[in-house]
C-alpha cells in the first residue's frame, strides 16, 4: 500500500468523500465492466448497481483492515454485491421484447431464436459461475469473463500470480463438472439452435 493510498484511506474513514472518490476512481472502468457483464450490457443498470456497491464501500470503510490491500477489499464488496444480485436473479427478468426495445437487436446472421438461446446460455453459465465456491467464481469472472491479466487479477485478490493460475485451473474443472451436471440447461436451449 502506498503512502498516498494510506492517507486517502485514513481521510475516507473520517468521512472525506473526495478522498474516497480518489481511492476508487482508478477501479471504475474495471468494475463497470463487471457491472455491464452481469446486467448484460444495460448501461443504466450497470452504473446504478456499481454506484450502490461503491456507496456500500464508502459507508463500510471503517471495516477495512489494512492487512489486506484496498483493491482486494473493494473487490470483495463489489463481488458480493453483484453475486448476490445474480443469485437473486433480480436482473434475469429481461424478456426478449424488452431487450429489443433497448436496442439489443439480433445480429445479421442470428435468428431471434438463436439470439434468445445465446442469452439463455449466458444466463445459465453466469448462474453456475455464481454458484461456484467464491474463490473460484471470482477467478472465472476476473480472468475469463472480464479478461483481466493474471497480474491484475492477483492484485484484486491479493494473491500471488501463481495462485491465480492454479485457482483458475481448479475453477474450470469445477465449472466443467457443474455444466456436465446441468447439461439439460444448455441442451434444452440447443434444440432451438439446431
Amino acid at each position: 500500500m502506498t503512502v498516498d493510498e494510506r492517507q486517502l484511506i485514513a481521510a475516507a474513514r473520517k468521512g472525506d468523500i473526495p478522498a474516497f472518490e480518489a481511492l476508487v476512481r482508478r477501479h471504475h472502468r474495471t468494475l463497470y465492466k463487471f457491472a455491464l457483464g452481469i446486467t448484460r450490457g444495460n448501461e443504466h443498470d450497470a452504473a446504478d448497481i456499481l454506484q450502490d456497491a461503491l456507496i456500500k464501500a464508502f459507508l463500510g470503510i471503517d471495516r477495512f483492515e489494512e492487512r489486506s490491500s484496498f483493491p482486494s477489499w473493494l473487490w470483495r464488496i463489489i463481488r458480493n454485491e453483484f453475486l448476490d444480485r445474480i443469485r437473486a436473479q433480480r436482473l434475469e427478468t429481461v424478456s426478449l421484447d424488452e431487450e429489443e426495445a433497448e436496442g439489443c437487436e439480433p445480429g445479421h446472421h442470428d435468428t431471434p431464436e438463436k439470439q434468445l438461446s445465446d442469452e439463455e446460455r449466458k444466463r445459465h453459465l453466469l448462474g453456475l459461475v455464481a454458484a461456484l465456491p467464491e474463490k473460484h467464481s471470482e477467478i472465472v469472472i476476473l480472468v475469463e469473463l472480464m479478461e483481466l491479466s493474471y497480474e491484475d487479477a492477483a492484485e484484486y485478490l491479493a494473491i500471488p500470480v501463481g495462485s491465480v493460475r492454479s485457482r483458475l485451473s481448479r475453477a474450470r474443472e469445477q465449472l466443467t463438472e457443474s455444466v456436465k451436471k446441468n447439461m439439460e440447461l444448455f441442451s434444452a436451449v440447443g434444440r432451438h439452435t439446431g
Binding site: K14, E21, L36, E43, V140
Partner: protein, 209 residues
C-alpha cells in the same frame, strides 16, 4: 463418461467465450451522480460511535490532539441578505443541529426556492491552527448570495486561513434556484486532516421550514 467430460469442457470454453463481459465507457455523469449519492448517503448515516469515545472529553480538555466539536447553524434568513461589501453574510440563528461525529457533520434543512439561507460553519478548536485550507462547493442550482458578482457567480470558493483556539464561525449565505435536494459541502483541511460539513438543502416551492 469421458466423452461427456470432453463435451462439457468444450461447452464451457464456448460459453466462456460467448459470455465475455462487454467494455463500454463510463456514462458521462457517472462520477457526478456517484458523488451526489455518496453525499446523500453520508448525510443520512448515523454517526459511528468513536472507538475512543469514553476518552474524548479528556482528550479535548488536554489538547493532546486537535479534535473539533463542530456544528452547523442554519437559519433561513429572508430578512438578512448578504452584505453588499464583502459578501460575508449576517446570519439569523434559528436552528442548531450539531452532530457528534468529529470529522464529518451532516445536516438537512428545508428551505424555500430562491430564499437566502444562512449556514454558519462552527469550529471549536482545541488550539490555534494555521494554514487551514477551506473549500465550499455548491451543487448546481445553488448560488452564493453576495454583493460581489464574482462570488455570486462562483460554484466554489477556496481560501487559506487559520483557526484560533475556541469558537470559530464561518457564515455563508446561499440560495437555490432549483427544487429538490441540493448539497453544500464545506471542507477544512489541515495537517493531513479533513473536516467535512455536508449540508443538504431540501428545496421546496413553498417551504414552511
Amino acid at each position: 463418461m469421458h466423452d461427456g467430460v470432453k463435451q462439457a469442457e468444450r461447452l464451457v470454453t464456448d460459453l466462456l467465450s460467448l459470455s465475455k463481459f462487454p467494455e463500454k465507457p463510463l456514462p458521462e455523469n457517472f462520477e457526478s451522480t456517484l458523488h451526489r449519492r455518496i453525499v446523500e448517503a453520508a448525510a443520512t448515516r448515523p454517526a459511528p460511535a468513536p472507538r475512543w469515545g469514553f476518552l474524548r472529553p479528556a482528550l479535548i480538555a488536554l489538547s493532546f490532539v486537535a479534535v473539533f466539536a463542530i456544528g452547523i447553524l442554519i437559519g433561513r434568513s429572508a430578512a438578512s441578505p448578504a452584505p453588499e461589501d464583502t459578501g460575508a453574510p449576517v446570519a439569523q440563528k434559528q436552528d442548531i443541529k450539531p452532530q457528534s461525529l468529529p470529522q464529518l457533520v451532516t445536516t438537512k434543512t428545508v428551505v424555500k426556492r430562491g430564499e437566502p439561507v444562512t449556514i454558519r460553519l462552527v469550529y471549536d478548536s482545541a488550539k490555534d491552527i494555521d494554514k487551514v485550507r477551506f473549500s465550499i462547493v455548491l451543487d448546481s442550482g445553488v448560488r452564493f448570495r453576495s454583493g460581489d458578482p464574482d462570488i455570486a457567480a462562483a460554484p466554489k470558493l477556496e481560501w487559506e486561513g487559520s483557526l484560533t483556539a475556541g469558537r470559530n464561525e464561518i457564515p455563508i449565505v446561499v440560495a437555490s434556484d432549483d427544487i429538490g435536494e441540493r448539497v453544500v459541502r464545506a471542507d477544512a483541511r489541515f495537517n493531513g486532516t479533513t473536516v467535512e460539513n455536508v449540508v443538504t438543502l431540501i428545496v421546496k416551492e413553498d417551504a414552511d421550514a
